[in-house]
């Protein structure tokens, strides 16, 4: 009997593990929010999708800004995006937002931490499967994104990886012999910035 009850409990737990993270949520929001905003007193979570906010027109707009089409089975307009709005008492002090990106060997989850003006104040891979994952996770790589914003990525072409913006050109790939996950990361950052511009920073325009 005990065995069977254990089986049932574990099954329920397993399903909760397996059905999680279809969109891109922080694994442990309480801990992660405190890690990025040590003076925060709370946060609110909003679930948004391009389908609900503007449908195919908005998708076209995002693709145009991105310079690339949404691809494959999983990059679709109905993907739910989670935006964490961070508070200190009643004041908003920042935002956290993550997206899924197809990488060379698996899904990459890129989270960006924003200030109130839309500048990146932190960069975080929640999930990354790569032979050189350690190099990409190094702070020397992630720190290169701090201070950047959507304007810096405007001319970046994710298909070719080219841009005339000096700040983006200066972002160094820690594994020059394999740039697949590096380029995927830059695309994910640009997409993250575009979506946050629509969801938060420029939503009334």
């Amino acid at each position: 009997m005990k065995k069977i009850v254990t089986f049932l409990i574990f099954s329920v737990i397993l399903y909760s593990f397996l059905f999680a993270a279809v969109g891109c949520d922080l694994n442990d929001p309480d801990r992660d929010v405190k890690r990025f905003f040590s003076d925060s007193t709370g946060y609110k979570t909003a679930y948004l999708s391009l389908e609900k906010l503007g449908g195919s027109e908005l998708l076209k707009e995002v693709e145009q800004k991105l310079g690339d089409n949404f691809q494959g089975l999983y990059e679709t307009p109905d993907v739910p995006y989670t935006v964490y709005t961070i508070y200190k008492n009643s004041d908003i002090i920042g935002y956290i937002h993550g997206i899924n990106q197809k990488g060379q060997y698996g899904g990459i989850q890129v989270f960006l931490v924003y200030d109130l003006k839309g500048n990146i104040i932190n960069f975080y891979y929640q999930k990354l499967t790569s032979k050189k994952a350690k190099d990409l996770r190094a702070t020397s790589f992630s720190n290169q994104f701090i201070g950047l914003n959507l304007k810096d990525f405007e001319n970046y072409d994710p298909k070719t990886g080219k841009t005339d913006n000096k700040k983006i050109i200066e972002i160094k790939n820690p594994n020059p012999d394999n740039n697949i996950d590096f380029l995927a990361t830059i695309r994910a950052v640009k997409k993250n910035l575009i979506l946050m511009d629509i969801f938060v920073f420029n939503k009334n325009k």
Binding site: K3, V12, L14, V22, N27, L73, G103, Y105, G106
Partner: protein
């Protein structure tokens, strides 16, 4: 005017009261049909889910956490193995229809989240596993091309999380080799949705577990005695037997506790319907006290008066019963959503299965309850003395 027309017209004379009584009966019938349908539908769905698991019995090494969730909670540790020879031993038994050997392996992934996480791989035999799980359909691709090959099949959720499609590459933790995704399964609503499948031989090789298994799924022949076969399996050394029949019984026991409460509510609804009928018909008898007296003075026998009242009752219950049954058919989906919300565990598939048998049983049950409620007013009416009634003020 015959006795039926008389009864029918009597009901129409008090339209509002008749309507409210019929509504009460409709609700009672609706509840009864839905509950009987739930009783049948839940068991059917549970049977389908358990049959859908593909095997009735799972063998594991004693003390082995045979569920992926356990491995995740334990950080991938605690696996125990049984020798592959057990497959031959079990296949030899005459009760066995099919078996499928599996090897589960958990690896710690330091790049999963802030503190890392556990990834579970399931090594399966491509010859036997698909046969045991016929409900697994592919969204893309198919099973492995060979028994030992660097190929991967992903459950729906696993593919979504890893953003993989057929032809994409994956790395297996603990191995430097690249694996090609050859299949992505459709969503099943089972733990297979989150699974990363590899060929059994490949898992044995890359994780250095040659000749070892974590699980053996067994499907028995239709006429096999599961309990007797389980007893035989208990004799195998260092093996634990997990029977899906036991799991089903446990779930059914848990659900029956909830069902007792629900059936109690249905019983109360029934009582309310019965007393509603009794009250309506009794009031009607009191209101028609003089009229019944005149009928008797004109030659109506007590039996005729009794029949008129009882037919009124039966008409009320028939109309309410039929509409209640129609409602239970029409709104079974709504009831199902409510049940899924409140019950702690619900299988996939239709939870409420209303068929003709349930409809007929419910219809006659509600008429019987109504008639029981109508007997007292009918008796009361049939015993009215004509002269007393005609002389009375009411």
């Amino acid at each position: 005017m015959n006795i039926f027309q008389l009864s029918y017209k009597n009901l129409l004379r008090r339209k509002v009261r008749t309507s409210f009584t019929v509504i009460g009966i409709i609700i009672s019938t609706w509840v009864l049909v839905t509950l009987l349908g739930f009783n049948k539908g839940y068991e059917n769905s549970l049977n389908n889910d358990i049959d859908g698991m593909g095997f009735q019995i799972v063998l594991t090494a004693k003390g082995c956490p045979y569920e992926a969730a356990t491995l995740m909670l334990k950080g991938g540790t605690g696996l125990r193995y049984m020798p592959e020879e057990i497959v031959k031993e079990v296949n030899f038994a005459e009760e066995v229809d099919k078996t499928t050997a599996m090897l589960m392996h958990a690896e710690f992934d330091p790049n999963k989240g802030e503190n890392g996480g556990t990834i579970v791989y399931l090594g399966i035999d491509p010859d036997t596993y698909p046969e045991m799980k016929p409900y697994l359909n592919f969204k893309q691709g198919n099973w492995f091309n060979e028994k030992s090959v660097n190929e991967i099949v992903l459950g729906y959720e696993a593919a979504e999380l890893e953003q993989r499609e057929i032809g994409d590459l994956m790395l297996i933790l603990g191995s430097e080799l690249e694996f090609k995704v050859v299949g992505v399964l459709n969503r099943t609503g089972t733990q297979d949705d989150g699974m990363i499948f590899l060929p059994l031989k490949t898992v044995q090789e890359i994780f250095d577990k040659k000749g070892e298994l974590t699980m053996l799924g067994i499907r028995l022949k239709r006429d096999a005695d599961i309990s007797a076969f389980e007893e035989k399996l208990y004799e195998l050394p260092d093996i634990q037997v997990v029977s899906m029949a036991q799991v089903k019984n446990t779930i059914m026991n848990l659900v029956s506790s909830a069902k007792v409460i629900v059936f109690s509510i249905a019983f109360i609804a029934f009582l309310i319907a019965m007393f509603g009928v009794l009250n309506t018909v009794l009031m009607s008898v009191f209101e028609r006290y003089q009229e019944i007296g005149i009928l008797k003075a004109m030659g109506a026998l007590p039996k005729d008066i009794f029949n008129i009242i009882l037919i009124e009752t039966a008409l009320l219950c028939s109309i309410g019963g039929i509409i209640g049954i129609i409602f239970s058919y029409l709104f079974s989906n709504v009831s199902e959503i409510a049940i899924r919300h409140f019950l702690p565990f619900t299988p996939s598939g239709s939870l409420i299965k209303v068929d003709e048998k349930i409809a007929v049983i419910s219809f006659f049950a509600i008429i019987l309850i109504g008639i029981i409620g109508g007997i007292y007013p009918a008796l009361h009416a049939s015993n009215i003395r004509p002269l007393d009634a005609i002389r009375s003020d009411s």
